[in-house]
Symmetry: C2
């Protein structure tokens, strides 16, 4: 039963389980109390804080435990923003941050009537340091950048951005949720947030580090616990388990990184060979060792997830069809890459080579089966060949245009309809796809990029939007 | 090693441990995911929500899990207050609410420039329903009342207050942290908050119920989990353990309530017989079964805690000496009872009768030892007799007055100094105690009450405050 979605939540590490069970007996009392049960709990908490600080690369008194990674991000942002209220309220984030960062930035902007600047990313999903520099303003209160992207695995240039922020006097909060198990985050960051269940620790534990000298004003009702930064009774057994597993994971990290990187490289290389019309996304080099994402034309992510689940593989998808918001992943959108048929593979520690090989065996049939059910164009031979009709299509006439009505149809139907008729217009002609599906805005240009056709842009229509493509070959 | 501080945190119930271990394997994945690990996690979460709702007495879709009881209170109050912003921002609380409620009310008042009305309590710590009624205003957005007090165990008239709030159209939030393990909270409350580690569940789990029809606007950054009310990855193994232990504790509750109530009655009766100059506080009838609090003249709570810990008893105290704020418990202050030498006993389920008997054996020596070290007045014979000099003191002169300088001395020294000299003034004379210790404001009037002497009030002094007592017998 291969579980390939460690980036959502990693299975509990055996060390986490042992530490949790051991500390249930020692860590249930209130560490603020003076009696022996309280002192024992406080000792466990102190030791966990020291070990966590060492793993993060900060001082123990700079680190607090939160009830989740999301809470660490929210508390870190609100505390840093409140402390710099007099400077301003402007926030800078990358366009591909985790939703916890983006939603906190939005909530802050709404409450303060300020704005959020989203720094764009390249086609690999990386932000450029100089783009961060340009986004910083006199009234910028906080910049945020993830250490590595959670959907495509691309590493961000944290150290370079931190240096720019430092020189401009702006604190940088790093969301290290996806990378902390693999190693420390280098550079002069100001705040760092992470989440234990991403590295094999239990749920219910996040970390927030606020470096000395960084101004910080905790928000919300007062509470003495965790240096006044995190209200509520501490969950010491879970904290102990989280930190013990972080140390255990770090001890395996160097070897596992090499091994999983090779398995991911195999997926990156083989999937486009085995499956036609696939785009592997994210940086091939500067990336998390265990994560790879690809998108498949003419198929919806939900169908792929369902079929892969039937074949015993648990994976994730950033396709719109699998989310309740009906919009494709903001990460894929910011990268400008195909979102339909999106599959994210994130291998847990210890993933066997044979599981990856079996995935590669299963995937082609899963994709072709899903495409068949949707009546998608069948590639004639090589995956790289343009789908649609075999010939160059009817010629003559001066650049005729064709309109495809895909209104009311959800991803991937608009792209399938485009591909089906594309052979019917001559080179130089255009196809306009009428669609009211948000994914089309991303996927039709991505189709053009993959097919070497020209995307002319979108035009308002009576209903939905017309996406116009010119046939160039 | 008797642990008598269940009201701070109860030892983990065996059922909680079993359920936690079992669900670590089934409940670690993201319940929002469609694959089998996610579906298993979602099933566990759904079942836990149904069982919790049944135990609370609400519908499953009215109940969410939070990372702590404190978080449940904070989220419940902020969501209810935000939803009634147009009505007003006034908050009504009892004067003896848990600090999580009081701090949230203060933070709200500061942010909205509104006020908080604290409903006073009687000498037992209970709020009167009609006092709640008088405190409600046209612009009252929310009223809060605990089901039972966490420091003295007194039950509050929740059903009557809920009825008054209902008739006035004001939602009532009930902090049920101390009582939910003992049974449902009756009455037409609007919101209810609780904390699992108070009933023997694991840390990291709170409950928030918001009844249908109660307006609620979650605050903070958006997050889809838990009906949009609680951001962050759910801690399903802990939730399962929390709910399993709530059911287990409820199954034992009726029998244990009878048994522990008898043990507490024994403490209530025997402590004043065994230890001179003791005041047992809280309602003797309408109270939690397992909790009793008393205060001992002429001794500091920290010394008692330390000596009881050396004798293997873990108890809590609301004395100022044990808190970092240097002020006595706001609960004891609101009740107007003695705070010095305060000891709270809260018996966990299963407490053996022999442990309570041994506590009663140990306590008198612990108190007298602590008093001796402080040079406290020694009672001559019966505990009820006035301490101080044996005789009526020098007579003659017209109401002479005596000043005791206790500036810079902390609780219980000002009261000890008062008692030492009290015999030196004649009946009709006064003693003024100069003190800059916050506890004196509570403890000197309490001493007068216990001794049958007349407290004349306080007067400003060059340094500190003069507390004036007239000798009447």
């Amino acid at each position: 039963m291969p579980y390939f979605d460690a980036a959502s939540s990693a299975p509990l590490h055996p060390v986490a389980r042992q530490a949790l069970q051991a500390s249930l007996d020692e860590g249930w009392a209130d560490p603020a109390r003076l009696y022996r049960e309280g002192r024992r709990a406080a000792l466990l908490l102190d030791a966990a804080r020291e070990a966590a600080a060492e793993a993060v690369g900060c001082r123990p008194d700079e680190l607090v435990f939160t009830p989740s990674g999301t809470n660490a991000v929210h508390s870190g942002m609100s505390g840093a923003l409140a402390a710099r209220r007099r400077v301003g309220a402007h926030v800078v984030v990358s366009a591909v941050e985790h939703s916890s960062v983006l939603h906190a930035a939005e909530a802050h902007a709404a409450a303060t009537e300020s704005t959020v600047t989203e720094v764009p990313v390249d086609r690999y999903g990386a932000s450029a340091p100089d783009a961060y520099g340009r986004a910083l303003r006199e009234d910028t209160a906080l910049a945020c950048l993830q250490s590595a992207n959670h959907e495509v695995g691309t590493e961000q240039p944290v150290a370079a951005v931190a240096e720019i922020c430092r020189s401009r006097g702006v604190p940088l909060l790093v969301d290290a949720a996806q990378s902390l198990g693999w190693g420390k985050v280098g550079g002069a960051w100001s705040l760092l947030a992470a989440s234990a269940h991403k590295w094999g620790g239990p749920a219910g534990v996040g970390l927030l580090a606020v470096r000395k000298g960084v101004r910080f004003a905790p928000q919300g009702p007062a509470d003495e616990r965790e240096s006044g930064r995190v209200p509520g009774f501490q969950n010491i057994p879970a904290v102990v388990a989280a930190v013990a597993s972080l140390r255990a994971v770090r001890a395996e990290a160097a070897d596992e990184a090499v091994r999983l990187r090779a398995l991911v490289d195999r997926i990156r290389a083989r999937v486009p060979e085995l499956v036609p019309d696939v785009e592997v996304v994210g940086d091939p080099e500067h990336r998390l060792p265990h994560l790879v994402t690809f998108s498949c034309l003419y198929v919806d992510g939900e169908a792929l997830l369902h079929e892969l689940d039937r074949a015993d593989f648990s994976v994730s998808s950033g396709s719109s069809c699998t989310s309740s918001t009906l919009t494709p992943s903001h990460v894929l959108r910011a990268m400008g890459v195909l979102s339909e048929g999106n599959v994210r593979i994130s291998l847990p520690l210890g993933t066997a080579e044979a599981e990856v090989d079996r995935f590669l065996e299963v995937l082609p049939g899963v994709v072709s089966g899903a495409r068949e059910r949707l009546g998608a164009p069948v590639p004639v031979s090589a995956p790289d060949e343009t789908s649609g009709s075999g010939g160059p299509g009817p010629s003559g006439g001066s650049a005729p245009s064709l309109v495809v009505d895909a209104l009311g149809r959800r991803c991937p139907i608009p792209v399938i309809e485009l591909a089906k008729v594309f052979g019917e217009v001559p080179v130089g002609g255009t196809v306009s796809v009428l669609s009211d599906d948000e994914a089309a805005r991303l996927d039709i240009p991505a189709w053009c990029e993959m097919r070497g056709q020209e995307y002319l842009g979108e035009q308002p229509a009576d209903h939905g939007v017309a996406y116009v493509v010119r046939r160039v070959s």
